[in-house]
Symmetry: C2
Subunit: 209 residues, 2 copies
DNA sequence: GACTGTGAAGCCATTCACAGCT
DNA sequence: AGCTGTGAATGGCTTCACAGTC
């Protein structure tokens, strides 16, 4: 199977499969079928096999997949066989929380610089990182070879901050601000819009009932 | 156009359109075309018109849409013409931050109870809400007519907490824990997986370069 | 017998393109 | 002339179903 374009939905599921496999490994499971993975994460077994097929043949017919081995492949595919240095811009409520959140580090993402435009915040400490002013952006990106930026500034500042991240050489941006951002092609951008998610819920509760 | 099943992607975009319209309103814009909305939020104009068409005819041919009016329709559709009381389970790093985050309240979601299993956290205050033990779940849900729950507990506790939310009568759940949850049909569930989003970035940075 | 890997079919969302209004 | 609303065409993801392998 030769494919050059991988559906984004597939990538997201691979991430979920990989975490489920970690869970299975902790429980001492050594071999798993696509059906079992599927049940564990709430998709169809055909979906699991199709997703994996984009990247190779990892299983054994009649048997299934070796948990340890498949997990290794997935971590490699997702780029999690290395650590990623991350810079965060915006140390407000959301930014501070995300900086303190252990989930990122557990998967190899190390927040090694946190910047904020607010002078009152500069100097404060989150985990072991001191909040610094925006001026040091270029320096920190170079110093830590940072590829990934997380934007948690208010909507009005989001585009400007993004432009500065791109200018400093950051290649991928995770945007938590409720604003649609423009980035040059070649820069990877993802938006996590917390309100949108709640609103999908309220829509479903309101509509058709 | 008679449709009973609305694509989830459409609902998410409606939420984004509505925020863009709020933005336009603040800027004093009175009329807007599908093309202008499209440029503002990064989709095609056909997409905008198709999304709106699921719910009615809101524009004027040759002219466009009245910002104020369309915004009103969208807020109604999304269920944002009312306030929603929300209960949050888990007052760890992420939970506390989300509770403090103003973005939810701005869109009408009021976190009016925060519970945590950890006795050490009980009694602490986040905004004006005091963290309480899990035992008061049923009481709070009834008391505030809560329909929506936010789960920010560690993965191991997520399913149990979800079951309790469902049992207490909550109809929609926003899950921030990195675990796939099972809920009875009829319960609306959405997952916001923060790590998955970062991993889509690392995948894109690693794969094919 | 069990389970993977995969072409084909089915389904759903997006884009096209134009008729219909203003 | 300009822009919406929408059936038809397209494209892409998911499911089906089964050949291939252990």
């Amino acid at each position: 199977m030769k494919v050059y374009k991988i559906p984004e939905a597939t990538v997201m599921r691979l991430s979920i499969y990989s975490r489920h496999l970690q869970h299975l490994r902790v429980e001492g499971v050594e071999t798993v079928s696509s059906e079992e993975i599927a049940n564990g994460v709430g998709v169809s077994s055909a979906q699991v096999r199709k997703d994996l097929a984009y990247f190779g043949e990892f299983g054994t017919r009649g048997v299934g997949y070796k948990v340890e081995e498949l997990l290794g492949h997935l971590m490699k595919i997702l780029g999690l066989d290395q650590k990623w240095n991350v810079i965060m811009i915006g140390a407000g409520k959301l930014g501070s929380a995300l900086a303190l959140y252990e989930g990122f580090r557990e998967r190899g993402f190390v927040i090694c610089a946190i910047l904020d435009a607010d002078e009152k915040k500069v100097g404060e400490k989150l985990t072991d990182v001191i909040i610094e002013p925006l001026g040091v952006l270029d320096a920190r990106v170079k110093e830590h070879s940072i590829n990934i930026g997380i934007v948690t500034v208010p909507a009005v500042a989001a585009q400007e901050v993004t432009d500065r991240l791109v200018a400093s050489g950051v290649k991928a941006i995770l945007n938590f601000s409720p604003r649609v951002l423009k980035v040059p092609s070649g820069i990877v951008l993802r938006n996590v819009d917390l309100s949108v998610n709640l609103e999908v819920l309220s829509f479903n509760l309101s509509f058709n009932r």
